[in-house]
Amino acid sequence: MTTATKVFDVAAIRQDFPILHQEIHGHPLVYLDNAASAQKPRQVIDAISRFYQTDYSNIHRGVHALSERSTKRYEEARIKVQKFINAPSAREIIFVRGTTEAINMVAQTYGRKNIGRGDEILITALEHHSNIVPWQMLCEETGAKLRVIPVDDRGDVSNFDVHANTKLIAVAHISNVLGTVLPIREIVRRANGVPVLVDGAQAVPHMKVDVEALGCDFYCFSSHKLFGPTGLGVLYGKTALLEKMPPYQGGGDMIASVTFEKTTYNTLPFKFEAGTPDIAGVVGLGAAIDYVEQIGIENIEVYEAELLEYATRELSQVKGLRIVGTANHKAGVISFVLEGIHPHDVGTILDRQGIAVRTGHHCAQPLMDRFGVPATTRASLAFYNTKEEIDALVRGLAKVKEIFD
């Protein structure tokens, strides 16, 4: 079956997600907190369970059958990730604990080696705390400076120039608050050879990501937002950069040989994977990628764009509601404020109607300050959401207003 002939059947897709079929406070669950974490299809849950029941052992060590099987499954998943984001080589795919650890790893290895006093790291005003704080820590340690590219009132990132002392640019691919899709290719072009790290946590579940076409040097994402297990993420880095970077942690699996006098590090990607990794998690991530590819990421993009358009239109008609983040190119994230009603109260009242949204600052306090709001309510979409669920959200907001009127 080719992608083009596939029919996007949301009812059938929902059947794959056991958690969606329950009532919360007497109402059918409407899960609109996908930017925080996505739910898991049966295929992923079963793959992990089956792996533990049939193939599990430690990897890269044993000569026995189970170890060989586990190693094979683990390395097959790495190749799935490589192909999924179109990385040139599987050696450039490093398994970490999540996007946060991927960014910290680059800051602590590439950063410490290549960035020093008087140098500059460039980020944007819409970054998640995880793409701010690791760089601030590095700046404190090295004497480098952080420069912030502003965002305009719609949520688009302004143009910027690189200076002679600009050593790294770290940007989100999609804003977790505003939904803005950043023009990564354009940013890489402007970077003019300065390495670009992309926080792709919000992008990978929703759009085709091709790291070669983007041209970025590092790309990070989390498994749990991609319908895979928690506690796992991926760092992609260009071979030339990864090879020159010192290891992040020392331990087993990351070495070629150890004596008390001298240790030789293992080759890529193992140099960065000290200790026994989340083997079953990686197998689960592989299953999640299979699942997404079976639906077709292009189909997901088309469906979610339609859903976003519908949700934006319907929510815009709610009196007193203001959407925060109205960039031209947006993904399925809608942050909003309701006049005179605090997001926390909105969230609590929606929850009592079975509707899960996120409220608060979304780990992006500087961005909240930029838009002059202490917090927002955020509805974030996945391909298993429906127009009926958007309608339920709109009805839920009517109830919120009824209580506060």
């Binding site: 109260d345 609590t348 009592r352 409220t359 608060g360 600052h361 909240m368 202490p374 506060f404």
Partner: protein, 145 residues
């Protein structure tokens, strides 16, 4: 029921908070911040000897935290430090312990509904934690700002 949380008196105090603003003269102040949600308030108190003569606050937050600060400042006036601290203890019990009763808590009893919403206990107690900090920082000198 959601109406148990958002009772009329809570909605009223959140929309029209009492004692909102600054004191002309205060003995102590403290800032309360809930990093999880960004709620922020500044509390100013005027002590005369051991007695809270006046209390006012400014800040922004959800209905529960604003109503709690409003009702707290109303309740505080005329209470001694020890009474205020005891009141916080009883109030906290009311929010977290199913067996706690609301006797003697007066209007503060309307917050008993928060018990069913563990994520919101912090909202209801922010003002009280701030009060505790203010009392600990306070001295007999009256500062004018």
């Amino acid at each position: 029921m959601i109406d148990d949380l958002y009772q009329e008196i809570i909605l009223d105090h959140s929309k029209k908070p009492r004692n909102f603003g600054h004191l002309d003269a205060s003995s102590a102040h403290a800032e309360g911040f809930n990093p999880l949600c960004g709620d922020r308030l500044t509390l100013e108190i005027l002590l005369e000897g051991d007695v809270v003569k006046d209390a006012r606050f400014v800040g922004a937050g959800c209905a529960i935290s604003v109503a709690s600060a409003s009702l707290m400042t109303e309740t505080l006036k005329g209470k001694t430090r020890a009474e205020a601290e005891k009141l916080f203890e009883r109030f906290h019990q009311l929010l977290t312990n199913d067996a706690a009763n609301a006797d003697d808590l007066g209007k503060l009893a309307v917050f008993s509904g928060v018990r069913e919403y563990p994520a919101r206990v912090k909202c209801a107690t922010l003002a009280w934690h701030t009060l505790k900090a203010a009392l600990e920082n306070s001295d007999e000198e009256v500062s004018t700002e």
